[in-house]
Symmetry: C2
Subunit: 535 residues, 2 copies
Amino acid sequence: MVAKRPKFCGWGYEGEGLTPDEHEMVLERYAERFGLEGFARIPQPELEDIDLHGARLEVPAKLADFCSSTDFDRLTHTYGKSFPDYVRIYNKDFTNAPDIVAYAKSEDHVEAVLDWATGANVAVIPFGGGSTVVGGIEPAVGGKFSGTLSLDLTGLDQILEIDKTSRAARMQGGIRCPDIENGLRPHGLTMRHFPQSFDLATLGGMIATRSGGHFATLYTHIDDFVESTRMLTPAGAMESRRLPGSGAGPSPDRMAIGSEGSLGIITEAWMRLQDRPNQRRSTAINFDSFERAVEAVRQLTQSGLFPSNVRLLDRMEALLNGAGDGSHDVVVLGFESADHAVDAWMERGLAICNELGGSYDEAASKAEDSNTSGAAGAWRAAFIKMPHFRDALISAAVISDTFETAITWDKFHNFHENVTAAAEQAIEEVTGRKGIVTCRFTHAYPDGAAPYFTFQAVGKHGALAEQWLEIKKRASDAVIDYGGTITHHHAVGRDHMPWYERQRPEVFGLALQGAKDKLDPGGILNPGVIVPLAQ
Amino acid sequence: MVAKRPKFCGWGYEGEGLTPDEHEMVLERYAERFGLEGFARIPQPELEDIDLHGARLEVPAKLADFCSSTDFDRLTHTYGKSFPDYVRIYNKDFTNAPDIVAYAKSEDHVEAVLDWATGANVAVIPFGGGSTVVGGIEPAVGGKFSGTLSLDLTGLDQILEIDKTSRAARMQGGIRCPDIENGLRPHGLTMRHFPQSFDLATLGGMIATRSGGHFATLYTHIDDFVESTRMLTPAGAMESRRLPGSGAGPSPDRMAIGSEGSLGIITEAWMRLQDRPNQRRSTAINFDSFERAVEAVRQLTQSGLFPSNVRLLDRMEALLNGAGDGSHDVVVLGFESADHAVDAWMERGLAICNELGGSYDEAASKAEDSNTSGAAGAWRAAFIKMPHFRDALISAAVISDTFETAITWDKFHNFHENVTAAAEQAIEEVTGRKGIVTCRFTHAYPDGAAPYFTFQAVGKHGALAEQWLEIKKRASDAVIDYGGTITHHHAVGRDHMPWYERQRPEVFGLALQGAKDKLDPGGILNPGVIVPLAQ
């Protein structure tokens, strides 16, 4: 079997993606949306078009077995999957390509890389699924290193142990989501963590970036599924004890979770699993007012019913994703279980929506296939296809991006209004034309929501990077000014560092610096991410 | 109104506790339990009996407004509420009494203490409820300090802000549980966190020690209720943003939570609250076999029903607490809600128990007052009285203590057998007579349980400290050897440090040391707790 190769430019693997017809259809739909006849188009660059500068480092002999500095390897480890990443690929700008790519297949390989790099003053950038949308894996590390190495961990792809009694599995950090699910299915188990990056994302990458998954309430981040972690650092291995709960000091796992490669490389984790659900109910509820839809989600999350899905789509978002006709705000509500029928849960959930004026198809809410049909099903299908759309849009200079955050309920409406206004205003000033800014909730909590904004605008070839950056800056300023977090589940990376530094307590920054000084004395691990580059 | 004074010796406040009749009744019951006629008794010491050494420090002029070095203040800030603490009080051993007690009433006071202490090389021991059972607040800090100061935070006792929409409140770190609940009740809200130390425990103390509370599943530790924290450190204030969820780097709160005063003083927190439940069902299910009772709890926690209570008592534990006749292992199962009737939940929970051979009173499980009557009610009443029993037992040289841990389901039976055997054997070898070792589950998780062991033995006046220590050591060794955590919710303190150091990853110890070096460069904060004393 030939291994699939992730694309050099675009989402997923070589040979996958939109068909030429679908590509055209997406662009037609967007042209219509903006009232245009069509778009000025530029072609996607080919690998051969890139004129890559020579590597500054030679692969050292002791790492030669699993390291490479071919153009292909360096080019496919320069960028993630963000809008500005794509822009620079189209611009053939590979200034920050790594000098070496290491394909680790064992912990020994990882240790050998850390040892050599610490001695040689080489920055090490951990590379998992490569699906970052925040510059988490770009080797942009400033001038103090002799070179950069991208440490590809997808060779650490095994499920090592399954404990059916406790419903947990020990897995390697480089295993991708599909392989996790395929490996667990024969045992009747599932990790049931489905980020939009499912196809590419790796376990270690998701833990390091606090990935957001399938469950809209309760178990929103991967954090809650982590039973223990094993992280290799230049100071040695940090392996936590496998425990269902503990009160022994600050949690070691919670320091690894979200560290984004700045403290160590997550090579293994014991993950909590679920039984595969066999009872499901899902339906869409229409609301005449956004405020009442928001209120429904608040009450649902405070009810103790713990819906697996409670996704709010504002009316424009619903329209654009085929989950509505644009006249209603929509709440997609779902319950699931591997243990019991969820009718009582759904009944009470719908009663809450009903009291707030929500309307829904009674029969559909009771259907066996209710999670894959109707508006709920339409949303599900759109969600999976979304990452491929950007491939088409970029060639037409359509600026299309998303940002997500979280905010307590008391502040939500003011926050939503101001953030939306900031993004809309920035788009109009930057592009000279109105854009589209929509909002949905990806996850919701008893004390607040995780709003997810999508913005779309007609940009200009040659100026896309600057246009995007200005819009991003002004939206991010608003997110921080009005009390949100710079990221709910897309992580910090390099792109969010200026706002992360405004958000996180300065004294906590000191604490992380202190921790990093001990674990990574050479400061070689993903420099500039989480812990700022030294001035 | 005269403020209540916490007792110098014993649980709770002056004037509270067992009546003389109850005291006698407790001892009669224990004498019977061990087959004795009665106990050799020694009287409880009075404050005046203690010959306290002079303070090594004078109260500095700038702290004089809120500091004291009277004998009363120093004596009441030397110990917590553990068995060995009581033994040393009876022995009139106050070697480690603090030199100064500061009664902080504002953050300014806390900052003034940290400033002065850093300059004067004085160890600062944060003191909340004073209810530690692990030596968390004893000023035993080795020889490198010029003296010790106990920083009493119970003057920071206000609810500062209530957000009903998001169901959250901003409260000061020194507020005690009863004042929290009294302040929230008029708003229809509750923190619903009821540790056994409820009467004394403070918010900041519970956060710093990862307190375990009311909910047996899902929201077991106080950790999950923390929305944001404010912690004063010698390097400045560390205040996290109020967020319902975030993915921006490692959680700052999770570093404060469990830091046990070693990194800073928690002066404020935003806490997530609950609506006051008005729907409750609770019942006790009897099992013929301990294994099947354990299996029932495992299935209940993996069901997604999230019972508020699922407490397993082995048959001896049930007997001793009036929740059974000793012929059955008992599972107390409860559901509660402020939103919906919980009948469907209870019905499915009982079906799981039924399939495993559990028996229960059908009618009782449906009664309105089912949470306060029957075996469930008996358990509830005993739970609240328990801390007072020790006051009686110590005078009769009965060694009585508990330890709690957590372990994944796959390892549970082997763990339970070996830990029980280690404790039983230690008791017999140390005291020359069989003791009693019982087990219950205080909390349970999809991937494991939190077993809570109680041990009781007939000790000898004059040798109690050594006898206890030997039993504790051998039980703790077994907990660590067989895969558990040294504490599920009693914290680490000074007593658990040797096992904590075996349990937590060494590299994580380095990270915490690095963080402490930055936040507390003088190393004055609760020296020897979480971060070991320098050799």
